[in-house]
């Protein structure tokens, strides 16, 4: 019936796409295999149940009415766990620590056959691509001075999709262009390739690899352990997000190079894990190399000035920026001067990164009924949301260790995720100095 047709379209399409005729035969057989499994399975709508178990978020109240369970509190709990974890790792509680503000990150996307699995809808590959796009945008939003490159693993080989660069759009376009998966995955080839590129990066840059790994194995030409050591020597911080299950070698890799290894449970979890990598990681002492970077702060072209921009090769009136060194015009900041290769930024771009230097200390949970002899504020200091819960159990609240103002959990998240300063502390004269 209709549903089934929909169901195995992705798997069929993805795994028989673009294969060398030599291997064609074997893969076709695989397809048959998959199809069998599909056939054993159930209709699309039934499978939707099997996967999402949607009935579980319904509950019956006393009067026999069906109500959805609200997962809000749960989410908050998880969030706070992560926050505390991060901050303890970042050690922002005790003392400020350096962050890798200028990052050179290669995102490695596993497009091996394993990526065509449909345990993520519609397929791992699609999900990875979708989230990777979101990630890249977020990444550039958080680290305007950083660079990203894309690499894909396919048929046991690693290919560079995009050169390491500063523009999100280009990256995303390249990624979306190359979406088909086949063959085996090879960590070693990928790492070797990345190693090749990242070893050219100037010393002040923080070298990172983020591997989105669908496969449960790696087929390498040589001994991967050596490669891992080489990465460690080259100060490349390798992180892996697995989509299927924990794999020893990935864990080993991350532990060795100071990266993080996580395995996603489902799409939303995957997204969370991925976005964890958007804020700059704490700089590892032995890796960290301070340095002065030469940068240009171009002035906005005055109105009326006509000049030919080097990005579009066309004459523009007004606006735009002129490289202070070679006096060539560019349209957008931040960028790298096409002619003299000078990094061009504007002061706000630097400012965007400042909050990484002054992180907001995580708030502490307030015991539901406050400490003895303490009157709790009735509303969230941030958004004025009432904190007096109706009925028995009070609404959860947190308070800033510095200014002791109370906040609702939503504000807590917003303050730490996006705002990056504590309204309480900011509206005190004392805190300012």
């Amino acid at each position: 019936m209709y549903g089934v047709g929909v169901a195995f379209q992705p798997s069929g399409a993805s795994s028989s796409a673009g294969k060398s005729s030599k291997e064609k035969k074997r893969h076709d057989e695989d397809d048959e295999e998959e199809d069998d499994n599909e056939a054993k399975g159930v209709d699309a709508w039934e499978r939707a149940y099997a996967d999402e178990r949607s009935w579980e978020d319904l509950q019956e109240d006393e009067s026999g009415l069906l109500r959805p369970i609200d997962t809000k509190t749960l989410v908050h709990a998880q969030y706070r766990k992560r926050l505390l974890l991060r901050s303890s790792a970042g050690g922002s509680v005790v003392s400020r620590i350096q962050k890798g503000l200028i990052r050179y990150l290669y995102v490695v996307i596993d497009l091996s056959r394993a990526a065509s699995e449909t345990d993520y809808r519609p397929s791992r590959m699609a999900v990875v691509a979708k989230q990777a796009e979101a990630f890249i945008r977020e990444f550039f939003d958080q680290n305007p001075l950083s660079h990203v490159g894309l690499i894909s693993i396919k048929d046991g080989l690693a290919h560079r999709l995009t050169d390491i660069g500063g523009s999100p759009e280009a990256q995303i376009k390249a990624l979306m262009g190359k979406l088909e998966c086949s063959g085996e995955a090879s960590l070693q080839n990928a790492l070797e390739l990345v190693h090749g590129y990242l070893s050219q990066i100037p010393s002040y840059g923080h070298r990172e690899v983020l591997i989105l790994y669908s496969a449960l194995n790696t087929c390498d030409p040589g001994d991967i352990m050596e490669t891992v050591q080489r990465c460690k020597k080259a100060k490349i911080r390798c992180s892996v997000i697995g989509l299927s299950a924990e794999v020893f070698i990935c864990k080993h890799l991350c532990e060795e190079t100071g990266g993080t290894y996580t395995v996603a449970l489902n799409e939303s979890h995957f997204k969370e894990l991925l976005l964890e990598h958007a804020p700059p990681p704490p700089a590892i002492a032995e890796y960290a190399a301070a340095n002065l970077i030469k940068m240009g702060f171009p002035q906005r072209g005055a109105e009326g000035v006509v000049s030919i921009c080097s990005c579009h090769k066309e004459a523009k009136v007004g606006g735009g920026y002129t490289c202070p060194r070679c006096k060539v015009r560019v349209c957008e900041l931040p960028t790298e001067c096409r002619t003299c290769g000078l990094t061009l930024v504007s002061s706000p771009h630097l400012a965007r990164s400042y909050h990484h230097l002054f992180p907001v200390a995580p708030f502490d949970e307030v015991p539901p009924h406050g400490r003895p002899g303490q009157r709790l504020p009735t509303a969230c200091f941030g958004c004025q949301l009432s904190l007096v819960g109706q009925g028995v159990q009070p609404i959860l609240r947190v308070s800033c260790p510095k200014c002791n103002q109370h906040f609702c959990l939503d504000c807590d998240i917003y303050i730490h995720e996006s705002l990056h300063n504590c309204p309480g502390c900011e509206s005190q004269r004392i805190s300012a100095v």
């Binding site: 350096q98 503000l101 200028i102 939003d141 001075l145 050219q200 990066i201 100037p202 010393s203 002040y204 840059g205 190399a289 301070a290 340095n291 002065l292 970077i293 030469k294 940068m295 240009g296 702060f297 171009p298 002035q299 906005r300 202070p324 060194r325 790298e336 003299c340 290769g341 000078l342 504007s346 002061s347 706000p348 630097l350 400012a351 965007r352 400042y354 909050h355 230097l357 002054f358 200091f381 941030g382 958004c383 004025q384 949301l385 939503d410 504000c411 917003y414 303050i415 996006s418 705002l419 990056h420 300063n421 504590c422 309204p423 900011e426 509206s427 005190q428 004269r429 300012a432 100095v433």
Partner: protein
């Protein structure tokens, strides 16, 4: 489909979070007396509520030693539906304002009666009120698919406080991220670097009225315009901002400088050691062109 119903929602329904500068030192010196000022602002708030019954206005006072909510048309007690008697509304605002100033002054005096009486803080806590406003707006965003279009209006007079720079910038970027324009109306004699950048970056309107006695007209004609209508109207553009930096060492504007890779502080010439974060620069600077060659 999810977006479709939200389109049904009235285009011009808007939430205006207005930040009033209540810096006593400023108002004491200002050409426009505070009472006059209120004479313009309060009717403006009424007019906003008048335009659309879904409109909401929130007032936040920006003090020198504290910030606080003055008024929220959304709250039940200040009768939500705007057909409430404007008198009540006005007096309500005044009352709250009075309380706030009282509180503010107490805090300023500090516990021991006299705070730092030597040098009174002349800047008001813009960063604080901006943060509050943003928190509130986030709450509105959370309230569901259909919510009034939020924007922030800063009515500011007192000069910027250098120590707030990072915080203010953070707020600005957060506003930009959630597409909340920050309008700024300068009632002081001097421009504000903060708000100028804020409006420029978030795509709001930055304006410094010439005739302060016509303040209401400025507010009504420019700042009352809802975001939807702004697509069709030409409003006073914010002046282009010079985004060059000036170095930490000599405070002189530079267009070619060196940035510390650790703390991003800016220097006009090469240093052995970063004066801000104290990290040593062992092997000279790396000019990005050298990388070009390696390629």
């Amino acid at each position: 489909m999810a977006s479709a119903p939200s389109k049904l929602y009235q285009d011009d329904a808007s939430l205006v979070v207005a930040l009033l500068d209540t810096n006593p030192f400023f108002w004491a010196a200002a050409s426009l007396p505070f009472s006059e000022f209120l004479q313009h602002v309060v009717p403006f708030i009424n007019s906003l509520l008048l335009l659309n019954q879904l409109n909401r206005v929130v007032l936040i006072a920006t003090g020198t030693s504290s910030c606080g909510y003055i008024f929220d048309s959304g709250e039940a007690n200040s009768n939500a539906n705007a057909n409430a008697n404007a008198n009540a509304l006005c007096s309500g605002i005044i009352k709250k304002l009075e309380d706030f100033v009282g509180k503010d002054s107490k805090i300023a005096k500090g516990p021991n009666g006299n705070g730092d009486a030597t040098r009174p803080a002349i800047s008001s806590l813009l960063s604080g009120s901006l943060s509050l406003a943003l928190c509130y707006i986030q709450r509105i965003f959370r309230s569901g698919a259909r919510h009034p279009q939020p924007r922030i209006l800063c009515i500011q007079g007192s000069p910027d406080g250098p120590e707030q720079y990072v915080a203010v910038m953070n707020s600005i970027f957060s506003a930009q991220r959630s597409m909340v324009p920050i309008d700024s109306c300068i009632v002081g004699t001097q421009h504000s670097a903060f708000l100028q950048q804020a409006s420029y970056i978030t795509g709001g309107v930055y304006m410094k009225p010439q005739q302060l006695d016509g303040l209401f007209q400025y507010l009504a004609a420019v700042f009352a315009t809802d975001l939807h209508s702004r697509n069709f109207l030409r409003l006073p553009k914010p002046v282009g901002v010079d985004f060059r930096a000036s170095c930490f060492c000599h405070k002189k504007t530079i267009d070619l400088g060196y940035v510390c890779s650790v703390c991003l502080s800016i220097f006009c010439k090469y240093h052995k050691k970063c004066s801000t974060c104290g990290s040593e620069f062992n092997q000279g600077t790396v000019d990005s062109t050298t990388r070009e060659q390696k390629r």
